[in-house]
Structures are given as C-alpha cells and as structure tokens.
C-alpha cells in the first residue's frame, strides 16, 4: 500500500489500526547491509568530527549570548521606566530565559543554564510583576553578566559557587520582602 493510500485510509478508523512501516531509513543508512534484527552505529570519526564542530561553536558562545544578556538588560530597564507595560517585558524576559537555560550547558556554561532556569521559574507569571520581582530579575541579569564577562565556564569553581550563593541570597531577600507585603 502506498503512503498516500495509507493516509487516505487513516481517515476512517474502526477501533485501532496499526501501521507497520517498512524501515526505509535503515536501508538508506546501511545500503541494505544491516538486517532487520540488527542495529548499526555511527562511526567514531564522525562523532569526533561533530564534537570538534560543536566545540568550535562553543568558543563563540559568550559573544553570542552577550546579545541575549543585552536584551534582558533592555527589558529590565523598561520594567523600571514604563511600569504600565511591565507584564510584556517580564513575558519577554521569561522567553529569553527559556532559551538560555537550554543553551548554556550545551556550550560549556552550565551556570548560564542555572541562572536561566531560575529566571525562567521566577518570571513564570508575567502578570505578577512586583518591584521585588524586578529586583530579582536584576540579580539574575547581573549574575549572567559576571559569568560571561569572566568567562566562567564549567561549574566555575569557587567563583561559580559564590555567584550561585549570591543569587540564592537575592532570591531569599526578595521572597522575604514579598512575604512581608
């Protein structure tokens, strides 16, 4: 049965229909040389080449992420200057943080992932944009700047721990202030 016929048939379903699909990709990748019960792999040289490419890109990561940090700073500044559009800026910050939390670790900057994840969580509800939240956003942006300006790769050793500890302190401070409000 052709793919088109199968798709046409898929419009009406009696109960359950199973589609057993011929493994064309395995044939393509092995030239028919890997049997139905067998598995193929990726040549080690190919993985090494891909890792080299990956590492080359990771070297440029700090410059690239700087543009995201600038965007965060700009949105933070707008939170201060124009409180009436604050929820929009917090929503933008939330989206940027989502991007950063996924990328930092990939390029050898897990601290950016830590900061990004924390910022993502605390900006989850963009309608709640108190002054405390704005202060907390600033603490995150400052931490990220310190990581990138200092090229604090990996876990960052002592400096990394200090940066995370100061973020924890900021979270405690602003959460406590919120509780008092």
């Amino acid at each position: 049965m052709s793919n088109a016929e199968a798709q046409g048939k898929a419009e009406k379903v009696p109960g359950v229909r199973f589609y057993i699909i011929r493994n064309i990709l395995k044939d393509k990748a092995s030239g028919g040389g890997v049997g139905p019960g067998d598995k193929g792999g990726i040549p080690i040289e190919a993985i090494q080449a891909a890792e080299a490419e990956f590492n080359k890109m990771a070297e440029d990561y700090p410059d690239w992420v700087q543009s995201l940090i600038d965007e965060l700073s700009e949105n933070y500044r707008r939170c201060i200057d124009t409180p009436e559009t604050r929820h929009e800026n917090v929503a933008t910050i939330h989206d940027i943080a989502h991007d950063m939390k996924g990328q930092g670790g990939t390029f050898g900057y897990p601290l950016i992932t830590n900061f990004g994840e924390s910022l993502y969580k605390c900006t989850h509800k963009s309608e709640e944009c108190s002054d405390n939240l704005v202060g907390l956003i600033k603490a995150h942006v400052d931490g990220m700047k310190a990581v990138i300006n200092g090229r604090v790769a990996g876990d960052g050793g002592e400096i990394g721990q200090e940066l995370l500890a100061s973020l924890e302190k900021a979270i405690e401070k602003y959460s406590a202030d919120d509780d008092q409000d």
Binding site: Q7, A10, G15, V16, Y19, A29, K101
Partner: protein
C-alpha cells in the same frame, strides 16, 4: 556493529535561534547527514514541507526523512508543527520521524509531546552524543504507528511487556484491530 552512512539522509531543522540552527545543522552534517535544511519556526517548516512536495528542485530535497524541531518558538511552535505533520490532510507524510528538541524537561511536557505523536525527545542542553543517540534510535528502533479515535502517532509502548491479568485497560480486542503494512 556495522557503521551507518547517513549521506542519503535529508533532515529538516526548525529553530528560532540562529545559533541553535547552525549548531544542529553543523553537527548533523559532521555526523554524516547528506542534506540538512534549516528554517526559523513552525510556520516556515510547514511551508518548506509543502515546497518539498510541490517543487523538490526548488526545495533542494526530494523528501524529508527526519524533522528536528525546537518546541518553544513563535508564532508557530514545535507542537503546532507536529500537529500539522501528524494530522493535517495536506501533510506530505504523516509517519515522518519527529524529534522534539526542548528545554522543557518535566514529565507533563514530555507526555504532552508524546500524546501529539513525537517520535523522540531531545532535551536541551544536549551533546553531540545525545543527538547521535536520537538519530540512531529513529533508525534502529522504529515503532509501528497507532491510530485510534484519540491518537495518531508512534506506538507509545516502547517495551512490549506482558500485561498482568486484569490490568489491560485497552478496549479493543483482535476483532476491531486492523494491521496495515506501509
């Protein structure tokens, strides 16, 4: 174990971050994938898949073998693209392997993507090895597709374990199961 050659593979990478697009396409090419196209969001992904069908010369590929798509994008995100691929009548291939790349790691989100018919999930941050593993998973362990009135996508039971007596909640018996070979 024999080594694969992905030179004849055509992959589509969908990501709104130019950096991630470059990273993903460069890594796939380095692993040996012959043809990689990148687009900026789900909407462009749909346009490209339609172009491959209508004008493969212009698209630069005859077909798309695997889609690697970021989840969170705007205006059309990865889930909307996946829904279109799996359910839309204009989809060129509703069975296409779809790898959802995402920073969402919580179980609920994974369940959501699986319920929409994602073939594999690739969590960010990822490494070249993680990317290669997903590629191999798609090639080495393809799953049959299941179509019910509520679901269309790869079989969500990866391991076919025997279900203990009385625990089988499936409502269909052999009389209303149809098997189609594609």
């Amino acid at each position: 174990m024999a080594d694969y050659d992905f030179g004849l593979f055509s992959c589509l990478v969908v990501d709104d971050s130019s950096y991630m697009r470059t990273l993903m396409s460069a890594s796939l090419r380095a692993i040996g994938v012959g043809n990689v196209k990148t687009v900026d969001d789900g909407g462009q992904g749909i346009d490209f898949l339609q172009l491959v069908t209508s004008d493969p010369m212009k698209a630069g590929m005859q077909n798309v073998d695997i889609i690697f798509s970021n989840w969170q994008m705007s205006p059309v995100d990865g889930m909307m693209l996946l829904r279109w691929v799996r359910r839309h009548k204009e989809s060129p291939n509703r069975f296409i392997p779809f790898v959802m790349v995402t920073g969402y790691a919580d179980r609920e989100k994974v369940r959501e993507a699986r319920a929409m018919g994602a073939t594999e999930m690739l969590a960010k941050p990822f490494s070249v090895v993680n990317l290669g593993q997903r590629l191999l998973q798609v090639v080495n362990r393809p799953r049959k597709f299941v179509h019910t009135n509520k679901y269309f996508g790869p079989d969500r039971r990866r391991n076919q374990k025997e279900i203990p007596p009385g625990k089988d909640r499936r409502k269909n018996d052999e009389r209303n199961i149809e098997v189609v070979h594609v």
